[in-house]
């Protein structure tokens, strides 16, 4: 089994929820490690943007969503995809350029979408998914669907015009949208200190009449709580919320990053704030999990990822023959 059904609720609500949250974060971490490994072994093409260190934000947000709530994701989107319920095999198959990959080998890491779980897709364009989420929210409103659209994006994306126009549309139309800014301190090499002249990115909501909150993005339960409130507000027709989830990426921006713009000390310090370890400690403090159970969860995640990689490897390489047919959806359909 390389998928697990989405569970909603606070990660601290019950032992089942806790285990689910931990398993989800672990699955993301192991998947990312596998991707790094495949890349290192030259089995994967292109580039990769790993979300190691950011697992709590994807997980906490998606635990506040129903399966038919929609998300738009980013170039650093594996975590969002997993947390929303995607099949690890099809994800890895995509990275390996196989027919059975999510995109049939046509999109790769930056373009995985999954209709079944409401994932409208990763995006190679910084900020590209933000107006799209607003459109999904508009569709929900026009059709009275009661669903919410969440847009994940990074701190860097907030300086794109796309964010601005999208935020304002969502605000004036009171759309059921949640703007989730994963502030990991950098847009590639550009630090938030250099790229912004405000103290918290949540303040940017002020200019649109959108309430903004700054949350510890490495605390999966805090992320859930904030998202849950925002989702409730959205479903009530009160409009969008901006959540700034403060986190950190442990790895370089992409394969070519030499980390010249930040110090080893800074990276190491953030590693002490590992969202997975943090959550484990919290659960143990509350007596909600044992060390043995924790080991079990990680073992389960590892075996799922290994199974996914093995299964994906068996896939047929994508075939150039039908490329031209894949550009347009057939009119009859």
């Amino acid at each position: 089994m390389t998928t697990i059904p989405l569970l909603t609720g606070n990660p601290l609500e019950s032992n089942v929820h806790a285990r689910y949250a931990l398993l989800t974060m672990s699955r993301i971490r192991k998947l990312e490690e596998a991707v790094e490994d495949l890349f290192g072994r030259g089995m994967m093409h292109g580039t990769m943007h790993l979300s190691i260190g950011q697992e709590a934000s994807a997980t906490g947000v998606c635990m506040a969503l129903n399966i038919d709530d929609q998300i738009t994701s980013t170039h650093r989107g594996h975590g969002h995809c997993v947390a929303k319920g995607a099949d690890l095999t099809r994800m890895i198959a995509e990275l390996l350029g196989k027919e059975n990959g999510y995109c049939g080998g046509r999109g790769g890491s930056m373009h995985i979408a999954d209709v079944a779980t409401g994932n409208l897709g990763a995006n190679g364009i910084v900020g590209g998914g933000i107006p799209i989420a607003v459109g999904a929210g508009l569709a929900s409103k026009l059709m009275n669907r009661g669903t919410v659209a969440v847009s994940f994006f990074g701190d860097g994306a907030m300086n794109e015009g796309a964010f601005h126009e999208a935020a304002n549309l969502a605000a004036i139309w009171k759309l059921p949208v949640v703007f989730v800014c994963e502030n990991n301190g950098y847009g590639m090499s550009s630090s938030t200190e250099l790229a912004f002249a405000i103290d918290t990115l949540a303040e940017r909501g002020l200019g649109y009449g959108i309430p903004g909150y700054t949350i510890d993005g490495n605390d999966v339960s805090a992320v859930y709580e904030a998202t849950q409130a925002a989702v409730q507000r959205a479903r009530n027709g009160e409009g969008p919320t901006l959540l700034e989830l403060v986190t950190y990426r442990w790895k370089g921006h992409s394969r070519s990053d030499k980390n010249l713009y930040r110090t080893k000390e800074e990276i190491d310090e953030w590693k002490t704030k590992d969202p997975i370890l943090f959550f484990e400690h919290l659960l143990k403090d509350k007596g909600m999990i044992t060390d043995e159970e924790i080991a079990q969860v990680h073992a389960e995640a590892t075996s799922q990822v290994i199974a996914a990689v093995n299964e994906a490897m068996k896939g047929v390489p994508a075939d150039p023959a039908n490329l031209l047919d894949a550009v347009f959806k057939k009119v009859s359909a």
Partner: protein, 332 residues
């Protein structure tokens, strides 16, 4: 029946009304399309007929609007976006080209984007360089977009209904000089669809094949009338959609005429109608040519303001007549 000699604005409005009545998932969004009725009056009274939710006025945010339309289209809607001037597609290029055009392919077919982007195109109103461009060439070179250039009210209505039906993103470029002029053909009252990707032969003649787009179709027809008086018989072909492009009638006609002229308003250098020339030059049709191809296009200048400059910058009927006359006279 002369009450069915509609303007293109009226014809487009009818198409949108029919589509909105047929399908609840069709809605329109754009700047000033509501109470104002549209910068060129195309949406007119639709706001009053369908309400502010389905005829949705937006702030001045082209990128946001097109992006919202993409997201809505991915979520089962069929949005029609109106961009006041096609020049402002520049603001929204990322959503048009990097998102709408490619999503279906990039995600391996999981999603599709049934979206129509309507925009007023072309020169002739004295609005100068930033409000007068013919940008079809940009979109034609982007795989994943269909590109429609209606040349008359009749075409506009039938093509727009097909565009709205299409499960793919369609760029629909309306020449602003056509909005207010009644067409030469009746526009049927109910729904009818003109398939995307089928050229129309408007007139057949043995001396010269003219392929023209948008506003240039009517200029080519006017030129053909004049030329007929002189005994020069011209075939006029309107591709109607430039992506996909239907060349069969062009090839067939060249077998008779041996002479080809292409006429576009867009700047000549790198303009779209080069595609027609290239398809002829790379295939068997080349063998039928008895004369060099004639290319009439906009000058390689931004569209200027003053009327005498603006006219000079793009092909007029007399330019078509003169060029046709000489290619026929010089190459026998």
């Amino acid at each position: 029946m002369s009450d069915r000699m509609l303007t293109m604005s009226e014809a487009l409005r009818e198409a949108m009304a029919i589509a909105m009545e047929e399908r609840p998932e069709v809605f329109i969004l754009g700047e000033d399309i509501g109470i104002y009725g549209g910068a060129f009056g195309v949406t007119g009274d639709l706001y009053h007929r369908f309400g502010s939710e389905r005829v949705r006025d937006t702030p001045i945010s082209e990128l946001g609007i097109v992006g919202a339309a993409v997201g809505a289209a991915l979520s089962g809607m069929r949005p029609i976006v109106e961009i006041q001037f096609s020049d402002f597609t520049a603001q929204a290029m990322d959503q048009i080209v990097n998102q709408a055009a490619k999503i279906h392919f990039m995600v391996g077919g999981e999603l599709h984007v049934p979206l129509v982007l309507r925009a007023a195109s072309g020169s002739g109103t004295g609005a100068a360089g930033q409000h007068s461009q013919s940008l079809e060439g940009w979109f034609a070179n982007v795989p994943g977009l269909k590109v429609v250039m209606p040349s008359s009210p009749y075409e506009a209505k039938g093509l727009l209904l097909s565009a709205i039906d299409d499960p793919n993103p369609v760029i629909f470029l309306e020449h602003k000089l056509l909005y207010k002029i009644p067409g030469r053909e009746e526009v049927p009252e109910g729904a009818y669809r003109i398939p995307l990707g089928v050229s129309r032969v408007l007139r057949e003649g043995k001396d010269l094949t003219i392929v023209a787009t948008g506003i240039m179709v009517s200029r080519a027809m006017a030129a053909a009338d004049e030329l007929a008086v002189e005994g020069v018989e011209v075939t006029v072909i309107d591709p109607r959609t430039i992506s996909p492009l239907d060349m069969d009638p062009v090839y067939a006609s060249l077998e008779n005429t041996g002479r080809l002229m292409v006429v576009q308003e867009a700047p000549e250098h790198g303009g779209f109608l080069n595609e027609v020339i290239a398809l002829v030059a790379t295939g068997p049709a080349l063998g039928h040519l008895i004369a060099p191809v004639v290319r009439l296009a906009g000058m390689n200048v931004p569209i200027p303001y003053a009327p005498q400059l603006e006219k000079a910058a793009v092909p007029q009927v007399n330019n078509i007549v003169a060029a046709a006359r000489s290619v026929v006279a010089d190459w026998r």
